[in-house]
């Protein structure tokens, strides 16, 4: 898309460009207004303790959102977030030092889990591309397969994680922030590099912007798609590790509600569901909007069950305001 803009610029009406530029900053403005309102209502919002709490809550949705961003950039969708996350968390709880068996793989266990996440993502990609099945159907299937595998492994029980390294991700702190937050920050940096400074990253935008053109320009679309799904799987598995560390256990219900927060964060951040527009830094803003809003609602005493509903409305509002309707005739 960056290659096309210098050519397009003279023809494009200036009013439209300004509107587009404003739209790109809208999520940031929403985030700042939100922070200001909550800070006025409840000054506790601005304390360092609350800031740490916000980053801690944001770490997991951010990691999941990064994975989903790669998929949504291509104009696809990944509904298997909860499946891969749950499966990873459960397998992790069985591989590291735990209360149910005698395994003690430590960090190696975490690496195996990342590989498993990548593998499930790879299967997603292969089914989607090779069998030509729309991604939302493929990943709807793997969503339930992942949760089913977790259930089959545990049969409704929970395994307590006693491994000090894994628990330490949530408990131990460095410069005031838990290690989990630093890992999420590192994941963000890695994702930004992949997105902006690799061929793969540019291909993602090209595919999302217009797949037929991408094919004609010689981009290996099938390979890029499969890689993107595998990469997303690794990020979901990382999210699973962080969730398991935070709760100190693995069970089959651990992922409930994560898909919803993830999609909300990506979409609210301004990544277009049509593909080709957005990025992981926007997802960071989207995650912060979702987390700050829920943090603010907790501070104001709104029950947490209301939040799903609010997120649902946010999805509709964000998608409705971001879709470029002139491009679409048929919406399915």
């Amino acid at each position: 898309m960056s290659a096309a803009s210098p050519l397009d610029a003279p023809d494009a009406p200036p009013k439209r460009t300004r509107r587009l530029r404003l739209a790109a900053w809208a999520p940031v403005i929403v985030l700042m207004v939100l922070c200001a309102i909550i800070a006025v209502v409840n000054p506790n919002f601005l304390t360092f303790g609350n800031f740490v709490r916000i980053t801690q809550t944001a770490a997991i949705p951010l990691v999941l959102g990064i994975g989903a961003t790669f998929i949504i950039l291509m104009g696809s969708i990944d509904l298997s977030v909860e499946g891969i996350l749950t499966c990873s968390a459960v397998v992790l709880s069985m591989l590291v030092l735990n209360g149910a068996n005698s395994n003690d793989l430590g960090i190696l266990g975490a690496l195996i889990v990342l590989a498993i996440g990548g593998l499930i993502g790879l299967v997603n990609g292969l089914i989607h591309v090779r069998l030509r099945i729309p991604s939302f159907m493929t990943t709807l299937g793997t969503w339930f397969i992942g949760v089913g595998v977790a259930n089959a492994l545990l049969g409704g029980m929970a395994i307590r994680i006693t491994d000090p390294v894994i628990r330490g991700l949530a408990v131990e702190r460095f410069l005031g922030f838990p290690w989990g937050v630093w890992i999420a920050a590192l994941a963000l940096i890695v994702a930004v590099v992949i997105q902006n400074h690799t061929r793969f990253g540019r291909y993602l935008f090209a595919i999302g912007g217009g797949e037929d053109l991408a094919v004609l320009s010689g981009i290996p679309v099938a390979r890029v798609r499969i890689t993107a799904f595998a990469l997303a799987g690794v990020f979901y598995a990382l999210g699973g590790i962080l969730v398991a560390a935070q709760l100190g256990l693995g069970n089959a219900q651990i992922g409930t509600g994560r898909l919803f927060t993830t999609v909300t964060a990506v979409v609210v951040g301004g990544t277009s569901l049509m593909g080709g527009e957005g990025g992981v830094l926007r997802t960071l803003v989207g995650v912060l909007i979702v987390v700050v809003l829920s943090n603010g609602m907790v501070l104001m005493g709104v029950p947490s069950s209301v939040q799903i509903g609010v997120q649902g409305l946010m999805i509709i509002a964000a998608v409705a305001s971001s879709i470029d309707r002139s491009k679409l005739r048929v919406v399915k």
Binding site: S135, G141, I145, N151, A152, G155, G309, I316
Partner: protein, 319 residues
């Protein structure tokens, strides 16, 4: 693999594949477990299938147009909460109230989809969140068991007529109504046309958006009815009552042979699909497969069925 898929995807074979699968499954499960073929077990099977079938036939209307409804399990749960909360005060009026709520939710999802031009899977995912939240808040996040006097209102669901459970009869009524809507009304024909080719249908003057909204209203209403039946059978309402029903419902539609690309399908196929899902579930229970682990099979079956039924010529770019 791909050529094998293409072979069984050829129209002539494809049309009869679901029914053949169903018969084969019944024979297999019947051989392994002869109890299965006794009339009492089969009636139980029919009763258990009714809820799934009602949910699936609602979403069939949406899938026929090429859309999808991911909010049906939240709607069914919400409907069970509405019934459980209002039954003491409203009596029988609680049931139409729940169905009206379902239709309203479907209307809102349909309007969000058509007016705001949001893809249906995201509009209904979001609507599902709103509905789940509503159910959680209004029920106080717990399940509501119905008192003895309220259960008197549930006789039309739990009773039997000439030895046949009322649930089965309700299922049959839904089958007839849904079939008439799908096959003998203007709405049914238009929705098949929209699924087959939306731009052409639009160009021939059909009010595409109106048909889409009607489909979502029907899906919401049917989901609410399924929630009512569930409430009757369990004598309680809960905000997570139908949480596990989304995948089986969509799997039933697709396994029956309705293509998710739209245009091809019928309520009869959904009936066959729902029966397949039920027989598979019972077969797995006989084999001792954990009820939650069964989702592995349903997930795989869903993907496989989509792979066979999907019309790839309609989607040059698979996203």
């Amino acid at each position: 693999m791909a050529s094998f898929l293409r072979h069984i995807a050829s129209d002539r074979v494809r049309q009869w594949l679901p029914l053949a699968t169903l018969i084969l499954l019944i024979v297999i499960v019947g051989t392994l477990e002869p109890v299965f073929l006794q009339p009492a077990t089969l009636l139980d099977l029919a009763g258990d299938t009714a809820v799934l079938f009602i949910l699936a036939s609602g979403v069939t209307f949406v899938i026929m147009l090429g859309g999808i409804d991911l909010s049906l399990q939240s709607m069914a749960s919400l409907s069970s909460v509405i019934v459980a909360l209002t039954l003491p005060r409203l009596g029988y009026a609680a049931f139409p109230a729940a169905i009206a709520a379902g239709a309203l939710a479907g209307l809102l999802a349909g309007l969000a989809h058509t007016r705001l031009r949001i893809p249906s899977f995201i509009a209904t995912l979001a609507m599902g969140g709103v509905l789940a939240s509503t159910a959680l808040v209004s029920s106080g996040e717990r399940s509501i068991t119905l008192g003895a006097d309220d259960r008197g209102y549930l006789g039309w669901i739990t009773g039997t007529l000439a030895g046949i459970p009322n649930v089965v009869i309700i299922g049959l009524v839904v089958l007839v109504v849904a079939h008439i809507l799908q096959a003998h009304t203007r709405f049914g024909r238009y929705s098949a046309a929209i699924g087959a080719g939306e731009p052409a249908t639009y160009a021939s003057g059909v009010k595409v958006n109106r048909q889409k909204v009607i489909a979502f209203v029907l899906s919401g209403g049917f989901a609410a009815l399924a929630g009512i039946i569930l409430t009757g059978r369990l004598a309680s309402g809960s905000p997570t009552l139908a949480a596990e029903m989304l995948l089986p419902a969509i799997a039933a539609v697709v396994v029956g042979g309705t293509a998710i690309t739209g245009g091809v399908g019928s309520i009869w196929r959904t009936l066959v699909g729902a029966l397949i899902i039920s027989v598979v579930r019972i077969g797995m229970t006989f084999l001792g497969v954990n009820i939650f682990a069964q989702n592995i099979v349903f997930g795989a079956v869903l993907v496989l069925a989509v792979a066979i039924t999907i019309d790839r010529s309609k989607i040059p770019i698979v996203k």
